[in-house]
């Protein structure tokens, strides 16, 4: 059964509901049309911003740049040169998308451009653009540009009605994009980037590509919306375009509404635009930025998740409060005007959402029970192979070295892992074990040397391609995607595997891996609610979900109690039994002796010894490396 199919019908159903509602609104008096058009403009801007900054966590202060490019494309090409306005709306979007792609191509290529520096760079872009626009006479030259009223069909006259219709189209475009992305791989890639970009890349998510898609959509819709609003402005100027309104408003709206939900920016736009409107009506124009700045500060401290997450905890109570207050005020009709009623109803909904007390908590904590009984179900591939079977090498590292600014972490190590092997990688702290894991998984590039996977050189490949070729890893300190459930953590790895899968298919397939490590009962809780042992099991399940031929376990048993260690050992055996080669980095020699078919000892970045566990661990050189020169081999 394919559960995937509900997304598209829901989108169509929402459209079918929205269209008559919007059509009904077109009959409103002009004042209300203008009011709703304002909400639609902000909904488009904030939603497009949220697709990049909310979904992927790359915070942008540069919305004003995309908006401004749209505004000026319309002002110059339609206002000055009289091009077809509809065509120019598209051109404005494309121009802003190209700018966005340029910013992305520079910013996302650089590892050093972490989120904070990306945010600061985007802060500078609108100011540079403003300087260019002000100085170049072909664009503006500091004089401003008049934008005449375009010709529009009689059916949507007057102009405010026409403007409402095109604003609605752009807003619906933005909301549809955000809604679809929240339910498909394009959105989920961004969620994984937001939670842990390196892990996402290591699991096979092409992070650069998906960040470029996100910033491109942000630019496209931001630019189209800017081009449309220019038609309503009549006159555009540098000061009126490249100011702080747009970046500030989209941030406040999205934070208020909620950055994790497609409808969050829409909810925020409704609240903030209504608040703005009432403030202006009451003659507090000069206060609006003060109020908004304060709202932003308070929200970030008190409710960074936003309204949507509160609404979804008690949806019925919130809707009831909204409808009752709105209908009640409308029926009595003695106080205020419709926008006041709306403001009061919105306030009532927010108050109900923030009332103390327990809502439905997102996930009830389950009880872990690791079923060892199922381990036999996983085929013991090794035994079914014939007597004359000779194992092929899976990965061959030749003379790899890595230095960090003059410190040699690895000084030329050559290892080969064959099909069906479980290689124990041991050595004292600082011997280069984790560095080797990072080189094999592509998280780091070696300073010199070669790494071949199934005969193909992988040293220059990005980690997501190495993941697709069959190497998976776990982290010593588990790094689950914190905003996704245990099941969805695994589903992401399946979705971005060698063969792309839909979200529903991936979720269904995740069951197999939950069972493999015995986390079925905890499938629907968040990683923060499970203990260290269970998180380490999740790391293994998620790595296995990429269907690797080689699994790198980096101290997957660190910090466990003896019972948990026995359980984890059983899981590793089970994974090994299913035919996957394993490199096990481990300090617990008891575990290495139990599991490894071969042991490699590293010391100070060099390979010290290699062979079966009982031989290698009695090697005097190994004992000296571990215990110091004065010690004797165990058993002496």
């Amino acid at each position: 059964m394919r559960k995937r199919s509900w997304v598209a019908p829901t989108a169509v159903a929402l459209g079918l509901v929205a269209t008559p509602v919007l059509w009904e609104i077109t009959r409103f008096p002009v004042f209300y049309l203008v009011f709703v058009s304002g909400i639609l403009f902000w909904a488009a801007q904030a939603t497009s911003w949220n697709i990049l900054s909310g979904y992927s966590g790359y915070f942008s202060f540069g919305q004003g740049a995309f908006f401004g490019v749209g505004v000026y494309t319309m002002a110059v090409l339609f206002g000055r040169h009289g091009w077809n306005w509809l065509f120019v709306v598209l051109l404005g979007g494309v121009a802003a998308m190209l700018l966005a792609a340029g910013i992305g191509a520079i910013a996302f290529r650089l590892r050093s451009l972490r989120g904070e520096i990306f945010a600061l760079l985007t802060l500078a872009v609108p100011f540079i653009l403003a300087a260019v626009v002000r100085l170049v006479d072909v664009i503006d030259g500091g004089q401003g540009i008049v934008v005449p009223v375009p010709a529009f069909p009689e059916a949507v006259a007057p102009f405010q009605r026409f403007y409402f219709v095109i604003s609605a189209v752009v807003a619906l475009l933005a909301l549809t994009a955000a809604y679809l992305m929240q339910n498909n791989r394009y959105g989920w890639a961004l969620f994984a980037v937001r939670d842990d970009e390196d892990v996402a890349e290591g699991l096979g998510v092409p992070t650069f590509f998906h960040k470029m898609i996100a910033i491109g959509i942000n630019g496209l819709i931001g630019g189209m919306s800017g081009a449309v609003v220019a038609l309503n402005l009549g006159f555009v100027s540098v000061e009126g375009t490249f100011n702080l309104r747009v970046p500030l408003f989209v941030i406040v709206m999205s934070v208020l509404g909620g950055r994790n939900h497609w409808a969050g920016p829409l909810v925020g736009a409704v609240y903030i635009h209504t608040l703005q409107n009432r403030l202006a009506d009451a003659g507090f124009d000069g206060w609006s930025l003060i109020v908004l700045g304060t709202v932003l500060v308070l929200l970030m401290i008190l409710a960074p998740d936003g309204l949507m997450s509160r609404f979804s905890r008690r949806p019925w109570q919130v809707s009831a409060a909204f409808v009752l207050v709105l209908a009640g005020l409308a029926m009595f009709g003695t106080w205020g005007e419709p926008v006041d009623w709306l403001a009061a109803a919105l306030a009532a909904a927010a108050i109900v959402a923030f009332l103390p007390g327990r809502g439905v908590s997102p996930a009830q904590r389950g009880v872990s029970s690791v079923g060892l009984g199922e381990s036999r179900a996983f085929g013991e591939a090794m035994k079914t192979r014939g007597e004359n079977w000779t194992p092929e090498p899976v990965v061959t590292a030749t003379d790899v070295a890595k230095s960090f600014g003059g410190v040699d972490a690895l000084r030329g190590v050559s290892i080969t892992v064959h099909e069906g092997e479980l290689v124990g990688l041991v050595g004292p702290n600082g011997s280069g074990k984790t560095t080797l894991v990072n080189l094999l998984s592509g998280a780091l590039r070696p300073t010199s040397g070669s790494i071949r996977l199934a005969g193909a050189e992988i040293v220059r490949l990005p980690p997501h391609q190495i993941a697709h070729l069959g190497i998976a890893r776990t982290y010593q300190i588990p790094r689950p995607f914190s905003s996704l459930t245990v099941r969805d953590n695994i589903a992401v790895a399946i979705m971005f595997g060698r063969e792309p899968k839909s979200l529903a298919e991936s979720r269904a397939e995740a069951e197999e891996f939950l069972m493999l490590v015995g986390l079925t009962d905890l499938a629907d809780v968040r990683p923060e609610q499970v203990n260290l042992h269970e998180r380490q099991l999740l790391e293994m399940a998620r790595a296995m979900a990429t269907r690797p031929s080689l699994l790198l376990l980096d101290e997957a048993l660190a910090g466990l109690n003896p019972v948990e260690i026995d359980n984890a050992v059983a899981v590793v055996r089970r994974i090994h039994g299913s035919g996957v080669s394993i490199v096990l980095v481990e300090h617990l020699l008891r575990v290495v002796i139990q599991l490894a078919t071969r042991v490699i000892v590293l010391d100070q970045g060099r390979q010290l010894a290699e062979g079966t566990a009982d031989v290698v661990l009695r090697d005097p050189a190994v004992v000296t490396a571990y215990m110091g020169k004065e010690s004797h081999a165990p058993g002496d």
Binding site: F59, F61, I106, L110, R111, S112, L113, G115, E116, I117, A119, L120, L121, L123, A124, F127, I128, A131, V132, R134, L135, L244, L248, I251, V255, G286, W287, L289, I290, L292, G293, T294, V295, L296, V297, M300, I301, P304, G405, G406
Partner: protein, 289 residues
Amino acid sequence: MTELQASIFGALTGSLFALMAVGLSMLWGFLKIINLAHFAMILLGGYLTVDLASRLGMSPVATILITAPLMFLIGALVQAGFDRFGVSELNSLLISYGLLIVTVQIVTNVWTADFQRMSPDINPLSLQSVAIGPFVFPMPTLLAAGFGTVLVFGAHLVLERTYAGRALQAFGQDRQIASAFGIDHRTLGLVLAGTAGASAAIAGMLFAVGEPLTPDSPFEWIGRVFAIVILGGIGNVTGTLYAGVLVGAISGLVSVLWSPSAAPLAVFSLVVLALVFRPNGLFPRKAGH
């Protein structure tokens, strides 16, 4: 000759921007706080200097006796808030953005959006200039360069030579270990943020002495100041000063050779190149330090 004069003039102005940048850079490097409200404090410092000098007849330079302690308090108070709510690096950027917007609007409501500058009889420095060899430099620029250089090197000495300075560096490198060794990061953080606030007040005074102020001035500073922070290396005090001088000299030169509007383009191209090739800043401290 014009080119040389422009570069030297730019370098001198650059040390004022380095003074603006150094507080930000230290808070970012040592406390993991990106404080856009720093620009609000520079702005308030500038406006208070204009107001105190115009209304009370104080010497503009002497106004820092009032504004620096005041901004010390505000800076420490903001840091206390960040500390109390355990604000992350990215959230500090957003929250302080809110604070900056609120301040800009309050300044607009109190002092109007028009240019504010002190008349020459209140601010005689603005008319003075000093001839050095073939070059003539306005007094406010020299004053800014002097204050900027002395304060930034002073901060460097405090960091290197005192227990508190070394404790701060340790805390910037590894918070948990430093705390485990008994470093009281709260008090140190408050003192550091307060000092950054005081430096903002001084930078505001120096700016007001030389240039007219508008409520939007912070948004003209932000780009250049963060370019200096990144080029100098986050948390690197002397690097900030060198980067300020470099950015100033390049801006001055590009303005003369090409056009003033091209200066930000040149500076940001330099930032992008530096991020690619020298991610730890142009002036990394020696290894093992």
